[in-house]
Symmetry: C2
Subunit: 281 residues, 2 copies
């Protein structure tokens, strides 16, 4: 794995466009798919979604909580799903939103980003509540392994606004500070303007001006939930993300998964095409 | 499980004092204990720590990342440790710092707080980066099941200061907002001044005035890392926590675990006694 994660994201976006298929086997979807509400059900759900996504999109994003609900058996199911997705050539973003300090955080990073680890993914979502600085060891580990991170920066849910728009003594919002700190690190590792491997989670419905965030350099992947069932359409991508549009990974889950297993591949193809048209690749 | 978590914490504090033994099987400690750096090693480490803690303290706090590092086999080991600790009558705080929104967060809560779930604990640490409001479903689920939560409010690590001391439009710090929002909820559920079941993580070395937080009512458990190897001593408990001292669960990990398996029970007894003396129970 010599190529850095940011560059692999760029290649995947160019080849397949921005759609990322969320793998969210929550109870209602398991029932709708005729699957059992247990570890066997989430395994089957995940493997079928990987099969349908393979060759049609560049990215999948398993949501860890839906597997963790079933304890070690659910995590074993997730391991199979992760391995199948990577074997299919998909870039796999483990949506776990882990966040801690020091050696504790380092071991989360090892769990998800070490080649050969049973939970190996290509990238992991992480939470900066304990400070971006507390993720330093995780950044190092990801870089060493050619892996990526997506740091929660500005989420779409209204309950998050008060916290994420709070300001420090210089008047900088929490979201803006996160973007600035991570971008400085990406810049240090991207002397020739390569894409950074530490990206951000920025919701598709976030008002950048209100959140205090501005376009950043070097380019880094933006994982954008909020498309599909949460309200944003493919045609919203360029108006919402402006000059950062080319780095957006648009994540949809329920809007696609609700097609059901028989029609899933077609639903993914249709939606992927809609994104490719607006992406203008 | 008719008694609410907050009241069970109060009873445990009165019976055994504030010491909580962290179960942190990181690689260096596994080596020092002569255990293998794999799922079998963390299982053995956890079970021996539970055995040594049993009858000597009221609380244990397994750190999930050190088990998650080994994927599903590590999580299976954690399930055994959780079950053994609960069977021994210890109150078990799963230190997982999970944080997400909506049905995703709800499933984390189900994983850790549902009676009969393989990962059942008595309480879970959670992160409010997506807003305290995003945890509403988790609060409901915990209450229904007689379980507890510890919401990250003010951590001791210096990297966290800038974010956690940022202020909203009313000048309230992030930490203070979290304490206020959770306390309002506890108050609604504690009409006769019973202890709340949603507690906080507030580091032992946090400067409450600088963090903008003040004593709160009704009483709710404070899980306080930062004792032991991180710098605070049992005699610091009352000076640091003032009128909230009686609700503090003082968490120590490395300082105790470094005693090694043969001397662990004695190390726990000695330290528990030191806390009982300052707690003045």
């Amino acid at each position: 794995m010599s190529e850095r994660f940011g560059e692999r994201v760029r290649a995947a976006l160019q080849a397949r466009g921005p759609l990322c298929v969320g793998i969210d086997p929550h109870a209602a979807l398991l029932a709708a798919w005729g699957l059992t509400d247990d570890a066997r059900g989430v395994r089957e759900f995940g493997l079928r979604t990987v099969e349908a996504a393979s060759g049609r999109v560049g990215f999948v994003k398993p949501q860890v909580s839906f597997f963790e609900r079933f304890g070690s058996h659910g995590i074993a199911a997730l391991e199979e799903v992760l391995a199948a997705a990577r074997a299919a050539g998909l870039l796999v973003i483990a949506d776990a939103k882990r966040g801690d300090i020091g050696s504790t955080m380092d071991d989360y990073a090892r769990a998800w980003l070490t080649p050969g680890s049973p939970l190996e993914a290509d990238a992991l979502t992480v939470s900066p509540f304990l400070g971006v600085g507390a993720l330093a060891g995780t950044f190092d580990l990801a870089e060493q392994q050619g892996k990526g991170l997506f740091v929660l920066a500005a989420t779409s849910n209204p309950e998050a606004e008060s916290l994420q728009r709070s300001t420090d003594t210089t008047g900088t919002t929490v979201s803006a500070s996160i973007v600035a700190e991570v971008s400085a690190r990406n810049a240090a590792l991207s002397p020739r303007g390569e894409w950074g491997s530490i990206g951000f989670v920025i919701g598709a419905t976030v008002d950048w001006a209100a959140a205090g965030i501005v376009p950043f350099a070097p380019s880094a992947p933006i994982l954008a939930p909020g498309f599909g069932a949460q309200g944003a359409a493919p045609t919203d991508l360029r108006p919402r993300f402006g000059e950062m549009s080319d780095t957006v990974i648009a994540s949809e889950s329920r809007s696609i998964l609700s097609a059901g297993p028989a029609d899933l591949a077609e639903a993914i193809s249709t939606r992927a095409t809609e994104y490719l048209e607006v992406a203008g690749v």
